[in-house]
């Protein structure tokens, strides 16, 4: 008898790692963004925006992303300073679908890779 597929639900349901790359803060999000975890992402975004630098949210390792995550991103965009940009990178099929349906690309730059997202925020006038 085989055990449950360990890839279906990882042991870590949600984790955020922040990386500092001199002119930008990268927020790497792992796991599930929902009503319970979105406030942690919101806190990370607020601190990053307070730093005055550009912000990139890396969603490459995100397995669930609902409207509470979407709202946090839109709210963060509205809190940006004039010389700051916010971009989103990475798209698993589900995250890509949510971004598409909710037309997030009309509000924020969305890139497929982290380097592309960094280029986008750095090109911000």
């Amino acid at each position: 008898m085989s055990g449950p597929d360990p890839g279906v639900y990882p042991m870590v349901l949600f984790e955020i790692r922040t990386e500092d790359v001199h002119d930008a803060i990268l927020i790497h999000v792992h796991g599930e963004v929902d009503l319970a975890t979105a406030p942690t992402l919101q806190d990370a975004l607020r601190s990053a925006i307070q730093s005055g630098r550009h912000v990139v949210v890396n969603l490459a390792e995100v397995t669930y992303f609902d409207l509470s995550g979407f709202r946090v991103l839109v709210e963060a965009k509205d809190a940006l300073g004039e010389r700051q940009a916010l971009a989103v990178s990475g798209s698993t099929p589900l995250v890509h679908k949510v971004i598409d349906i909710m037309q997030l690309g009309t509000l924020l730059p969305v890139a497929h890779t982290l380097p592309e997202a960094l280029d986008l925020v750095r090109s911000h006038g």
Partner: protein, 132 residues
């Protein structure tokens, strides 16, 4: 074979997460593709969040979830016992304001959405259908 799995739950965030995990794992086990299973999980999650937000003033209350396996589709029916309200329309395009966005997202993720009231019971039912 047609069968229905029924669960009674409270709309606290941990239970909502467990309920959508159960839907995902069950339909995946029944052969639905990873992509479609994730879409049905998200539609279920949004419907549960809607029940939490609109049916109960303090956010938690009882909800029943029925997952039915049919030959051609999976059907998730979620019923809340909140105050009686008339069923909202499912928006056909992305609403400019937050109200209705959850329903719009659900409708874009699945093949059919119906919101109904049942004269015998309080509250609203949402029925979402995802073809295999």
């Amino acid at each position: 074979m047609v069968w229905t799995l029924s669960v009674n739950l409270e709309t606290d965030t941990d239970t909502l997460r467990a309920a959508r995990h159960m839907v995902y794992a069950t339909v995946k086990h029944e052969g639905l593709s990873e992509e479609k299973a994730r879409e049905l999980e998200l539609a279920t999650g949004e419907a549960l969040v809607n029940a939490r937000a609109h049916a109960y003033t303090n956010g938690t209350g009882p909800v029943t979830l029925d997952l039915t396996s049919q030959t051609e589709a999976f059907v998730v029916a979620i019923h809340n016992a909140g105050a009686p309200v008339s069923p909202p329309e499912v928006p056909v395009s992305l609403p400019a304001y937050p109200a209705g966005r959850g329903l719009y997202l659900i409708s874009a993720l699945v093949d059919d959405v119906k919101i109904t009231t049942d004269g015998k019971r309080q509250g609203l039912s949402i029925t979402i259908t995802k073809r295999r």
